[in-house]
Symmetry: C2
Subunit: 193 residues, 2 copies
């Protein structure tokens, strides 16, 4: 998606430690018009996949999921990272090791919101090592739900998650794939798609 | 907003400890069509207030904020609850004591996303004791931003936050105000608006 690549080049910042900061439009401040275009693009890619539910993980993924769900006219379910008093009943749980937060956490989804009748589109802002995606796929597997595929705003193509998941047969559609980036020069090169 | 009240009566569940579960449509599974109507209603209420930014707090608030921002055509900024590697630079920080999670946490917003030129609409799913709202108002105050008011999906009118904040002169618009609820009978009574 050219618009995503152009926006990353315009407003993204490469930092040391493989960090790509996109907080002006994707994960702290949110450009809702851009997210609407993101949603339209995921709809174009997955409209024939029988999707009846969108699954994401808090927090930034919720914005992308809502703005995409409008195009599909399906509900969103977002996995939670912390144990809340509002979560009760039977839960699906999967342990995830986060790069961004530097710790392990459980992702949880109430069993009543995911089951064998569901065909799920999984959405997230980033795909790097793929640990969060592993957790969401694990939860879909526990639920017996079918996974249509995943939609990612920015894939770090130089980290192993995307190749590994595609190798496992998961359909991954990334709107921008960063092939390499350099925090000393600030340059970003995208994979041709 | 009758649609919100009716949905709470249909799908909400009253639990012991003043918990109103609305996880089927508002804070775990998300009914995006309902949220679009919520956004339209907040726009109707605040369209003449000069709002140029919507502020919320992760996680559920993000869904409401995005679906409302579409109507205003303004960006969303969501306050973060945890220290992330993606947060750097100068931050506004305020300490909040959470009822839902049973602990204290810092809410943080990058200073580059909020300043004296902003007129802010603060959105959240619930208002009860008002602790999260205090934190967001404190951050707006630190930023020198003007607060147009707050939009709340469900106010627990039997808890003190709403009355206290209105007493401080903050405009609070709640789509449904629960006057009383009973976990033994499951009954919910709304305040007339």
């Amino acid at each position: 998606m050219k618009e995503m690549e152009q926006r990353i080049l315009k407003d993204g910042n490469v930092r040391a430690g493989n960090v790509l900061k996109v907080d002006t439009f994707l994960n702290h401040q949110l450009d809702v018009e851009l997210l609407d275009h993101v949603g339209a693009e995921f709809y174009r890619l997955y409209k024939d996949a029988g999707v009846n539910k969108i699954l994401t993980i808090e927090a930034s993924g919720i914005a992308i999921a809502c703005m995409t769900a409008r195009h599909f006219d399906v509900p969103v379910v977002f996995a939670k990272k912390a144990k809340s008093r509002n979560l009760d009943g039977e839960l699906y749980t999967s342990l995830v090791k986060s790069f961004t937060y530097g710790k392990e956490y459980n992702v949880t989804v109430s069993q009543k919101f995911l089951g064998p009748d569901d065909t799920v589109l999984i959405l997230d802002d980033f795909l790097a090592d793929g640990k969060a995606m592993d957790g969401l796929l694990d939860i879909c597997n526990q639920a017996g739900a079918k996974v249509a595929g995943a939609g990612i705003c920015i894939e770090k193509g130089f980290q192993p998650g995307g190749a590994r998941l595609r190798g496992q047969g998961v359909r991954i559609e990334s709107l921008a794939i960063v092939e390499e980036m350099d925090d000393t020069t600030g340059t970003i090169r995208f994979r041709e798609q």
